[in-house]
Subunit: 234 residues, 2 copies
DNA sequence: TTGACAGGTCACTGAAAAGTGACAAGTTCG
DNA sequence: CGAACTTGTCACTTTTCAGTGACCTGTCAA
């Protein structure tokens, strides 16, 4: 059913509609910055709750209660919007906030590499487990490589560099242990378990929905680091 | 360029087209089973090369050189097609093939849990690294939960059960070590690193595209298992 | 031979997607 | 006031997708 042409007819309807309803509907104040914020918040919520497969200009605009053309006008497009979200720390909160007890790179000289690594791994796991947005970002990064995920991957890489700087500043290097690689394996493991807990209940016999399982993970993690650091050969 | 209406005209065009070209184009022999196989192979290739975001009935049918309606007719739909792919071992080859040196559950009694776990982890990593299809399945499982991923997740869970049965059959249980949890952490870590190597070159300072990095991962993995097994407390 | 059925092709619908051009409605400042 | 600019609304195009109804075509058995 093609619309009967257009032009005058549509315009008249629209105008009368507007002037009629203007007394009834609440109208957002016209403010670019708050509208931008609404869009960002909508994208954030949508990604956290529905996942990246549901993330599009239409969905974001609908959720923000805003016309989608504003996404293009204010951000340039979805990739730039995502990049801003990542830049703002909405995806990855500052490391200092996640691990306040971690020493800065300068203070770290008195700590051993292993102790620092363990501290950071624990903090990152806890942070990741309670941040669906970060979980979605990581899962998306594994799924696809495009302009959108590149923006998120850059934010993650920056975070990792920060962690590595802290660890590298540690003084007491265990002689026979490849701590960076150990940290990569364990960090990857914790990340994967956290991601799996969203969609699947269990991994390799481990019930990812039970607190007891996560307690065991934490204990085993600490035991691994301790045991490896005591190793005299490798 | 809109087509000039439709109806009668289109029919006439179509019929004459067919009777004209029937002498020129090669026609596949009409065989349900080979057509099914073509569809399965197309889905397999497409998933392995282009990822799950590109996987749809249209794309599969086009790649198989077949009409998409046959996917519905022969499989019932995409989920069932995926389930069959997973059932056939196209995603996860039999464990015995991946780790031929692993003892069966009956023979495993003479091995320690740790040695078995290490053996299986190494074999699974090697298998995963050279199987884009399995990588895609795992990444998809993290990204979404739907009828399609459920089929793949079921195949993975079956594989894991098989691994756990083998490990559980090991006799010599190290006293103070939570081997199952250790295996879950390490298995998850290796999996995540393998998945990251597809889309991102580096993880926590580890260059996932270099053989040297993977050699270090292997060494560290073995060191971890050995060190933890020697632990006398936990 | 003919009719029934299995194998296969095609055209179409409806929904959802990204993106754009035109315009209306406020706001600001001369 | 009123011109210029900003903010926001709407209609529309094009593309791609899953899914379906109608049809054609080869085969085999009665």
């Amino acid at each position: 059913m093609p619309l009967p042409s257009h032009g005058q007819h549509a315009h008249n309807y629209r105008n009368s509609f507007r002037t009629y309803h203007i007394h009834h509907i609440y109208r957002m104040p016209r403010d670019r910055s708050t509208t931008r914020a609404r869009i960002l918040a909508a994208a954030e919520q949508l990604l956290a709750t529905d996942g990246f497969s549901a993330l599009g200009v239409n969905a974001i605009a609908a959720r923000a209660g805003v016309d989608k053309v504003l996404i293009y006008r204010y951000f340039g497009g979805l990739p730039q919007l995502l990049a801003e979200l990542a830049r703002d720390g909405k995806v990855w909160p500052p490391l200092s906030e996640v691990a306040p007890e971690a020493p800065s790179a300068d203070d770290a000289r008195t700590h051993s590499l292993g102790a620092l690594a363990l501290l950071l791994l624990r903090a990152e796991l806890a942070a990741l487990r309670e941040r669906p947005l970060a979980q979605q970002a990581l899962a998306w990064e594994l799924a696809d490589r495009n302009a959108l995920t590149d923006a998120l991957a850059a934010a993650r890489a920056a975070r990792h560099d920060e962690m590595l700087d802290t660890v590298r500043a540690g003084r007491r290097v265990p002689p026979y242990v490849d701590v960076p690689t150990l940290m990569a394996i364990l960090g990857a493991g914790l990340t994967y378990l956290a991601l799996m807990s969203r969609t699947s209940g269990t991994y390799l016999g481990l019930d990812l929905s039970s607190d007891e399982s996560w307690h065991r993970v934490d204990k085993t993690l600490a035991a691994v680091v301790r045991a490896v650091l005591e190793t005299r050969e490798m």
